[in-house]
Symmetry: C2
Subunit: 215 residues, 2 copies
């Protein structure tokens, strides 16, 4: 009984995700689902991408949070298009929430739509939103064992971003352990080392996004 309920929910979600994907593709926009723990630095990372991408692209952001519009306010204040989804208590975005958010943005391509998912390494893995790319952001102070402890979300990543590399040396973190953990579940995803705060390593992610967005 419980399984049936869950299956129906996922199936409806997949259908809506496909509709979102077609809508974005029709506009020449690549949707990028950004997945991470609370406090991994998703918003600062997205801001750095927006600032580094060429000015001729039309980019926008959908911000997911349980509560508050802190992140959306911050992105709009910097001059970028953004809209907020608050889930109340929900632990992930779903495709219908994103569909509603798309209605609130004046979208035109070519460009990227960054969708900042709820801070959570578990629930968001099960819900496609209509994205063409999935970026998992881990951060150095969370420790090098996160891929081993949360394998599902790292398995589904098109790229892994390791943020806060400016804190290497201040915390216990062994890069080889982290890379081995990712590789145990994901052979192909590039791993980018960045410090969003210090704008380090962002260019390589932008280069990858522009190539991956064309596929």
């Amino acid at each position: 009984m419980k399984i049936n309920v869950r299956k129906n929910v996922l199936s409806d979600n997949d259908q809506q995700a496909l509709t979102n994907a077609q809508r974005l593709a029709g506009l020449g926009i690549s949707g990028v689902n950004i997945l991470a723990s609370p406090g991994a630095g998703k918003t600062t990372f997205i801001v750095r991408l927006l600032q580094a991408l060429p000015g001729e692209l039309n980019n926008a952001v959908v911000e997911g949070d349980v509560a508050s519009s802190i992140d959306t306010d911050r992105i709009i204040a910097l001059g970028f298009a953004a809209t907020q989804i608050n889930t109340g208590g929900g632990c992930h975005l779903d495709a219908s929430m994103v569909a509603s958010a798309l209605d609130k943005l004046t979208l035109r391509g070519p460009g990227f739509l960054f969708i900042e998912n709820i801070g959570n390494l578990i629930c968001p893995a099960d819900f496609r939103l209509g994205e063409s790319l999935r970026l998992v952001v881990a951060s150095v102070p969370e420790g090098d064992d996160k891929p081993v402890k949360y394998p599902a979300i790292f398995r589904l990543a098109d790229a892994v971003v390791l943020n806060k590399i400016d804190l290497l040396g201040h915390v216990e973190f062994t890069m080889d352990n982290f890379v081995a953990g990712v590789r145990a579940v994901n052979a192909a995803a590039p791993i980018f080392e960045v410090s969003a705060r210090n704008v380090a390593g962002i260019d390589k992610v932008v280069e990858w996004l522009r190539e991956a967005g064309k596929r």
Copy 2:
């Protein structure tokens, strides 16, 4: 329909949580539910509590993770009693998982049973496990806005532990913002500033636990 299913699940869980609580109380053990983001330092914090608590107490640990037994192995290697729960993909522990874990430990009081929940600031808030105390562990590199973004879990905290204070000055974090965020949803919970890594501030938490455990 969905609401009814959910209500039944919660009701079953509450019943099992009550059974767990009675079982622990009968043994003279205080259950402590430890809630936090991935990588907030829950395990190191628990290790420091175990090391700081008086030797005459009989303490044990239940470790919750989606996958792996890294944390349990670490605690057992240090000479403490521990057992692992792996949820597969589940984003929180529930009372029946904890009941099974209790069967695997040879428990006798007086002492504490620390239950490390899944790294997640959302789902675990809805599920009582049979604990008498709830400790929410936040960490400095996650940022000072976590109480505003995840209010439900901070609202239910009996105490809030701010870990990794050794990183203050290396990241953007304003203590007044953090405290105001906690106080907006929780007027009473003490806020302890600690560095589990450097064994700083642990004594005050131990003192509070010993007082609160008597109630």
